[in-house]
């Protein structure tokens, strides 16, 4: 199998054994690592105690026009060669296999084990992978996973000589201990905004002075988001393995916080050679936190615009294009001005008007327009800091989940609603009137009005109300101004 983006495509291994001649050719757009499989496969077969056929061996990786990369083709090529050479019985089962071979015949972990398991489940075939990969591959619903330690074991399992072992269970999932909302004291507006953002999966922008608690709030968002379902967890796992990141198979939403000095390729996706998913895709079904939004280079923000809107990243490569899912909820934090203390009573802003104007220009415009909810996070009241802890994450998460369930029943999460979805959401006359006035007063653009309607829908969902009312729209409007 080959990965096209994060999507596995089946690759069929065809082997022809011809005239007696010591030659081994490999065709089907292999990259260097795949071409070197010839030597590893030959050594592994010999180490296993079998003869490598002294004949013209031709291996074709079909479809021949799909580029193949990496060392995961070692195991399937070896099995194919052995089958063609008559070392495997004719009635051996067809399998989906992925794994690198070591020269001594042992099977190493692969990058594409989850993809292999997905394909195996789709085609109803067993999935043969290294021991190290079996646990995670077995998490894919419907996949029959055969873990193997060596090429010899793989032969035995495929030919039915030996019963396949049970994959080693992954250790019970340790839910990451997200920090708790109780630590957030005061900040009623920011807390409310975070809850609404979580409930409707809305992009959230927080503006405020340094130390006001923007990062603290953002880090607590995953803890109040609903858990991923099995399908979403598989998608995320696939993306993480495509990016060759540490193993992840969790129902906890991912949280990524790239630094503003990170390259565009590492955030959006791309890179040299085979395109890999960027941070935006690693945060698929989770949260991408962009601290110090103003420090990110403008070209990067521009290239994020469309993926954020569409939920996918498309990377074009000499004639072909690869698409990664990237349905991340973006949470951004920014200082209100270069010195950071605009709106801060205690310290006061020392920026000149011209510096402020420049800063606003940098931040404003089409990118900021992508945020459904924008709030000002002021320095917390000293009294609140010494006061009782805020409401804990658990009850907040329960309200979020209840609101989210209403959205699942409608079939679409509010933050992802298109115009057509919005038009199916009735507004009561007062709400309509208020929205109308907002547009007339020049407070809202057409796009802005759509965002207000999405957020108002979420506010109504949190209140458990079916019809979006005037007060919901009014509150949603409050998250459009005030910076």
């Amino acid at each position: 199998m080959a990965m096209v983006g994060a999507e596995p495509r089946p690759v069929r291994i065809e082997v022809h054994v011809g005239k007696p001649r010591d030659r081994f050719t490999l065709v089907g757009l292999p990259d260097t690592a795949v071409r070197e499989a010839k030597d590893r496969v030959r050594a592994a077969i010999v180490s296993t105690g079998k003869d490598f056929p002294h004949r013209l061996v031709t291996v074709n990786l079909a479809p021949a026009n799909l580029p193949k990369a990496g060392s995961d083709y070692d195991l399937p090529i070896a099995l194919g060669v052995l089958a063609a050479a008559g070392e495997l019985p004719k009635n051996s089962s067809r399998v989906v296999a992925a794994g690198e071979l070591s020269l001594d015949g042992s099977v190493r972990r692969s990058r594409t084990a989850i993809g292999a398991a997905l394909l195996a489940a789709r085609y109803g075939l067993p999935c043969v992978v290294a021991d190290d990969d079996a646990g995670i591959a077995a998490r894919v619903p419907g996949a029959a996973v055969y873990p193997v330690a060596t090429l010899a074991e793989a032969m035995a399992v495929v030919s039915g000589v030996r019963q396949p072992r049970e994959p080693v269970e992954l250790p019970a999932e340790v839910n990451p201990q997200w920090e708790d909302m109780a630590d957030v004291r005061g900040q009623p507006v920011a807390r409310r905004a975070l809850e609404i953002a979580a409930a409707g999966s809305h992009h959230l922008l927080m503006v405020g002075s340094p130390g006001a608690g923007k990062t603290m709030l953002a880090r607590r968002l995953p803890g109040i988001l609903p858990p991923l379902n099995a399908g979403q967890a598989v998608e995320v796992a696939c993306l993480w393995s495509a990016a060759d990141r540490p193993r992840r198979f969790s129902t906890a939403p991912p949280f990524r916080a790239p630094h503003h000095s990170a390259s565009a390729a590492s955030i959006v996706g791309g890179g040299h050679g085979n395109p890999v998913p960027g941070e935006l895709s690693l945060a698929h079904h989770g949260v991408l936190f962009m601290d110090e939004l103003g420090e990110f280079p403008p070209h990067l923000l521009n290239s994020l615009r469309q993926p954020i809107e569409e939920g996918t990243v498309t990377i074009a490569r000499r004639g072909s294009a690869v698409t990664f899912p990237a349905r991340a909820q973006v949470v951004a934090a920014s200082n209100p001005c270069p010195c950071g203390f605009r709106g801060d009573r205690a310290r006061g802003c020392r920026c000149t008007e011209s510096a402020l104007e420049r800063y606003r220009r940098r931040l404003s415009g089409p990118f900021l327009d992508r945020f459904d909810i924008r709030v000002f996070v002021g320095a917390p009241d000293p009294e609140a800091l010494l006061g009782p802890p805020g409401e804990a994450s658990l009850p907040v998460a329960e309200r979020v989940l209840a609101a989210r369930q209403l959205q699942y029943q409608r079939g679409v999460v509010n933050g992802h609603m298109a115009r057509a979805d919005l038009d199916r959401q009735p507004l009561d006359p007062g709400a309509r009137n208020l929205l109308h006035r907002g547009v007339e007063a020049g407070l809202l653009t057409g796009r802005g009005a759509d965002r207000v309607r999405r957020v108002a829908r979420t506010i109504a969902d949190l209140a458990g109300v079916d019809l979006v009312g005037e007060s919901h729209v009014a509150e949603a409007l409050a998250y459009r101004s005030g910076l």
Binding site: G186, Q187, P188, V189, R191, R192, V207, G208, P336, R342, G343, R345, G348, C349, R350, C351, T352, E353, S354, L356, F376, V377, G378, P380, D381, A384, L434, R437, G438, A441, L443, I459, S471, H472, A474, E475, L477, A478, Y479, S481, G482, L483
Partner: protein, 271 residues
């Protein structure tokens, strides 16, 4: 609108080196005004004060004289326009060149609201740094009192204050933090005898002592742009969402604006 040559008013002929000619667009008021001046590189504190005091003087009915520069000058005049008052901008160039260009709209608004832009330089004179100090003597000349809102130790605002003293006009200054370089000039003026301005009402009271009763009885706003939204919520027993919704309604009606987490009670656009 074309610049028209006008007679130099009597008030201006009393200063030591009166201009020999004057061009104007709009109607130059016949009564003495109040100059509100300050640094071009203003901070949000200075801008807020300029908006507040500009509005107060305009509501009291006195013309507000200023230089149409960036920063304090523009903020004060913007507040005057919004409050429906009379403003006079004195330029350091011919009236066919509004400098800085971003204040062209403000200049038009001043004239539209019944004020004027004037200059002692004939049309065609380009803006030049050496003409601005001379322009400042016209600003103070047209005024009975000069309010310096925000000024560093160097800059045109202090020159205007000195010229005002030479012309025998009153000088008032808005105090600032002692560690704030942009307020050092104002604080120095206060030490040297300028009236400190403690707020809008205080300013109007001081001005009445200098100029006699205010022409209008409109009440100046008694609070600076103000409370944070979080404070409003803490002081209310209603849910967060309701308070935010109420603020949004008020904002739509135009009675209030939320800026940087603060509810600003008077509707002002940026200058």
């Amino acid at each position: 609108m074309n610049p028209e040559p006008i007679a130099v008013p009597g008030l201006l002929r009393l200063i030591p080196d009166p201009p020999t000619a004057l061009w104007a667009i709009g109607e130059l008021p016949t009564v003495p005004g109040v100059a509100i001046v300050g640094t071009r590189r203003c901070t949000s504190y200075g801008r807020k004060a300029a908006l507040w005091l500009g509005e107060a003087v305009a509501l009291a009915g006195w013309p507000v004289i200023s230089g149409l520069a960036r920063g304090i000058d523009a903020a004060a005049h913007r507040a005057v326009v919004e409050a429906g008052g009379i403003g006079v901008a004195v330029l350091g160039s011919g009236l066919d060149t509004i400098y800085p260009p971003e204040n062209r709209q403000l200049a038009a608004d001043l004239v539209g609201a019944g004020g004027a832009i004037i200059s002692e330089y004939p049309p065609g004179t380009p803006p030049a740094p050496f003409r601005f100090p001379a322009r400042n003597r016209v600003i103070s000349g047209l005024s009975a009192a000069v309010v310096v809102v925000e000024a560093a130790l160097t800059g045109g605002a202090l020159i205007t204050a000195r010229l005002a003293l030479e012309q025998g006009k009153e000088v008032l200054a808005v105090p600032g933090d002692i560690d704030r370089p942009t307020s050092a000039g104002c604080n120095l003026l206060i030490r040297d005898g300028a009236h400190p301005v403690l707020g809008a009402i205080d300013l109007i009271e001081s001005l009445e002592q200098i100029m006699g009763p205010a022409p209008s009885v409109a009440k100046p706003p008694d609070v600076a742009p103000g409370a944070t939204v979080d404070e409003l919520i803490a002081g209310s027993d209603r849910p967060v969402g309701e308070v935010l919704a109420e603020l949004a309604r008020l904002e739509l009606e135009g009675g209030l604006r939320v800026e940087s987490g603060r509810a600003v009670t008077s509707p002002k656009k940026g200058s």
